[in-house]
Amino acid sequence: MNTIKYEPIIGLEIHAELLTITKMFCGCSADHSSLLEPNTLICPVCTGLPGAMPVLNKKAVEQSILVGLALNCTINEVNIFARKNYFYPDLPKGYQISQYDHPVASDGWLDILDENEGTRQRVRIRRAHLEEDTAKLMHKGNFALIDFNRAGVPLLEIVSEPDMHSVQAILSYANKIRAILRYLGVNSGDMEKGVLRFEANISVRPLGSQELNTRTEIKNLNSFRSLTQASSYEINRQIDLYNNGLDVNLETLGWDEVKGETYSQRGKEEAHDYRYFPEPDIPPILVDRSWVQTISSQLPELPDAKNKRFMEEYGLSLQEVRSLTYEKEFADFFEKVVTLSSSPTKMIYNWLTGEFTRQINERNIDIQKIPVTPENFAQLLDLFSSRVINDFTAKEILVEIFISNKNVRDIISEKGLLQISDENYLTDLINRILSENPDPVKQYLAGKESLFQWFMGQVSRETKGKSDPQVVRQLLQKILKNNN
């Protein structure tokens, strides 16, 4: 059988909740969380009571412009809000206030690295527009229960062109958008709270062909995991259909997390059914050049620029710097430690991405709330590199400062953790250990060199891990030689 190789064509829509204090069109707090009691952040505007007048939150527009600039977009001078009409209980007005043909930003791009091949690839951004989030629905029997706390929270929808051709590329793109939004301080990046939601448009075609086949759209993907799993399922499903001489239907799909399958959402209205028209309650927004310039001056150093600078300043590889810069707080922490510490940069990098990251993961610590101060961590590393404490003790203290962030020097003196490098003391100890273990000594001298590590271990055990391994090694070598 001759098998055709297929190429996926994927575009992504990312809905990002903006980090404003209040909702998009009213003064209700936008800080909705599942911990809050339902319907506590509500007013006539966000519950769609008749006659309520929405007034646009300036901050939401500014944050959107900031994102547009970071994604190399044109910031449109005229912004017009539109009503997107559809009937669903999460939308009490019967329409969502959105933007249609005059969005905040359009025609941008973002360069990503395809993780598999490590090649740089450009994804074009079609547009970024503002809209209001919907209420939360909970199904219960034949009824739906509604909580309006999320209704009206500003969302920025970032729409890419169908420029991605692998699940790896989508993941890389989505991760980069998340990092940029976090760098800009306009999104918390907290996936579990649903602050980033994805929709993927997918079609496949024989590799090398230029035809455009029917695409499907998978809605409501709320995690990186469901984004990648649903996309790869859908790519394979379409390829199977073509291989069996069948066609792909133009349709909207949902993702069943439990079954691991996409399913058809029949009856969802097509775009023209939304009957968009200009929102009469929100006058047009004119964005002049000086406003854009003011916002542009607030652009922080973004991941790509930071990667480049870190490589140059700290002599690290691209792969190394990327593990530091993915989270802005982590990159900042690294730089502070580098400034404060006299230890080699490479060593700081190794500790941060090794033991330090392990502690963060094991303790499930929010990267925005690292409990250890850079000062304390820098001190720990310096005491280690100047051999006041050994590797074993340093790791022990690291665990301790993750629990208490007590001053490293205080922990050392309280627990008596100073490294033992006193040669007289260690010589006596080694002599004692050797005389108590004549057989291993004989075997070692007969050529069983692996026993050296065993002697090292005995010394370490006797000193409860506090002996300076370098000094012990030298002494042990010297004494064993003399025993010969």
């Binding site: 204090i21 209040t22 009691e37 319907n39 007034v55 646009l56 009824f143 927004i285």
Partner: protein, 107 residues
């Protein structure tokens, strides 16, 4: 203006379109109602055709009902309304939630 039943041989809004609009807003509609609405909708649309006689090539689309731009609020929290009052004014609620019938999405 009072809309009187019109008698046009080919209404511009068909009974099928009326059924479709009813579906979009999730309203049940009887067959005889589709005929009435078909006529009334057609009449409204035809009345608005009058506007087509005006040359609007130089007029920008109306995006506002009064000539204003850039009406903003500052990002400052205002007190929310009383949940109790809100819920008590609804046809149904359960606990602190608004309760509504499910929407079935199939046509």
């Amino acid at each position: 203006m009072v809309i009187s039943p019109i008698d046009t041989a080919t209404p511009s809004i068909s009974t099928d379109t009326v059924r479709y609009i009813a579906y979009l807003i999730r309203l049940k509609i009887l067959d005889e109602e589709t005929k009435v609405f078909s006529q009334q909708f057609s009449q409204i649309i035809e009345y608005f055709q009058l506007l087509n006689e005006i040359d609007t090539r130089e007029v920008p689309p109306a995006n506002e009902n009064c000539p204003m731009n850039n009406v903003f609020r500052d990002d400052q929290v205002l007190p929310s309304m009383s949940r109790e009052e809100f819920l008590n004014n609804l046809p149904q609620h359960e606990g602190y939630y608004v309760k509504v019938p499910l929407i079935f999405d199939d046509r």
